[in-house]
């Protein structure tokens, strides 16, 4: 059935690009001022709260509680900021557009582009297989597709936001840089190995023309909405993990003696990097729960490279994702994928330990 004439819609929907923007900007400005004011008073507020209790502020429990009270709102606020910014930036990209940019691209430059786009393109993990097929069948080289597929989960906004919040921009930037490097080199390596024959047969056969989607011209209002939506979706989903992670971190902070971990996770224990990767690959957690723990471990003498290698292998490679990918990749190709990415993370772990000693 089609509606005849000017349809009397209950609320006439405005197309993207024509939604009003002034109210949203005013709202954002108010939020920004409030954000700064609250953020600046977090530390005094946490200390004052601890002093209200009969606890010794320098004792283990007092320290753990002060850490928790200060870190939880701080981390959630910074996370919200980063997720919002990423949501707005990502509204400029779509998997469709990324595919068009990458299709027929040479290896090398294609891998670099794919890794960068992997960070910026909005992408949900349940889309991994359709995306893989969509890319390969539209003529994106296999290695270039892998660069995208490695970068997208490994460098996520939650990990980036939390590293920035807890460990500073240097570490966040190093994580971004090394994550991109792994995606580029691993994808390029897989491409050089010419493993197209190791795809499942029906994937190799499939040739599709990209869908002709109506061009959507988003306006500023839509992009602000995209940022808000990202915050609602992502922060709304991960906040319990963040709090759980900070609680564990607070426990480590209060009770584990300083440098206790140096012998097993310190930079002199070279074997701890491969051990961290081997433990991390089958593990599946999200970045939200793991980064606060990482921060606490670092405070107790664990080496940065070792802990980051652990975190990257937990986030980048996970058993559920591999099971999904099995639908399109043969076991041999999955093994190569895991090995190449695992070796990359290993290299980053050793390099970090050497650089940030």
């Amino acid at each position: 059935m089609t509606l005849a004439g000017p349809a009397p819609l209950p609320s006439a929907p405005l197309p993207p690009g024509r939604r009003p923007v002034a109210g949203r900007i005013a709202g954002l400005a108010v939020l920004a001022v409030g954000w700064v004011a609250v953020y600046a008073s977090l530390r005094p507020a946490a200390d004052a709260l601890v002093r209200l209790t009969p606890l010794d502020p320098d004792g283990a429990l007092g320290q753990a509680i002060a850490f928790f009270l200060y870190d939880t709102p701080k981390v959630l606020m910074l996370l919200t900021l980063v997720v919002f910014a990423m949501g707005v930036v990502r509204s400029f990209f779509s998997p469709e557009r990324t595919r068009a940019l990458l299709s027929g691209r040479r290896e090398g430059i294609g891998n670099v582009l794919a890794a960068g786009l992997g960070v910026l393109t909005p992408f949900c993990s349940c889309s991994a297989v359709p995306l893989f097929i969509g890319f390969v069948s539209a003529g994106v080289p296999l290695g270039v597709t892998f660069s995208f597929l490695i970068a997208a989960p490994m460098i996520n906004e939650v990990a980036l936001g939390l590293l920035f919040a807890l460990l500073g921009w240097q570490v966040a930037l190093a994580y971004l840089g090394f994550g991109l490097a792994i995606a580029i080199v691993a994808g390029w390596t897989i491409g050089r190995l010419h493993l197209e024959g190791w795809l499942e047969g029906w994937v190799r056969e499939l040739r599709t023309a990209p869908a002709d989607l109506p061009a959507s011209s988003l306006g500023l209002a839509d992009r602000i909405d995209a940022g808000t939506e990202a915050v609602r979706d992502i922060v709304g989903r991960v906040w319990p993990w963040v709090i759980a992670g900070i609680a564990v971190g607070a426990g480590i902070h209060g009770w584990v003696p300083a440098d206790q971990l140096a012998p097993i996770m310190g930079r002199d224990a070279w074997w701890s990097v491969p051990a961290a990767v081997a433990i991390g690959i089958p593990m599946y957690s999200n970045a939200a729960g793991i980064v606060p723990v990482v921060e606490a471990l670092l405070g107790k003498g664990a080496a940065l490279g070792t802990t980051l290698a652990f975190m990257m292998s937990v986030i980048a490679l996970s058993a559920p994702e591999l099971v999904i990918l099995r639908k399109v990749l043969t076991l041999r190709l999955i093994a190569v994928f895991v090995a190449v990415v695992g070796l990359g993370i290993l290299a980053v772990g050793f390099l970090f330990n050497a650089l940030f000693g």
């Binding site: 059935m1 209950p10 889309s127 969509g134 869908a211 002709d212 989607l213």
Partner: protein, 78 residues
């Protein structure tokens, strides 16, 4: 009767998208037949790279992420 296909391997967002299409269609009084396409090869043949996708009367109108209800209304009414 408009023929709507929701493309997706069966994740949460795909289910939510199918429900949204039905809700919006009911609200606007448009008769629709909503079908979920979960077969990966079938999804790929529509040429989309991200799910969930929406196909209305054979034409792809959306790919990737949960659509906005007002956009769904616009596509259905178009």
């Amino acid at each position: 009767m408009r023929d709507v296909k929701v493309l997706g391997p069966g994740c949460k967002r795909c289910v939510a998208t199918a429900e949204m299409v039905q809700t919006e269609a009911d609200r606007l009084g448009i008769a629709v037949a909503v079908e979920k396409v979960t077969d990966l090869a079938a999804i790929a043949r529509y040429g989309i790279a991200a799910t969930p996708g929406i196909v209305i009367d054979g034409k792809v109108v959306h790919a990737g992420g949960l659509p906005k209800p007002e956009d769904v209304a616009r596509w259905l009414a178009a």
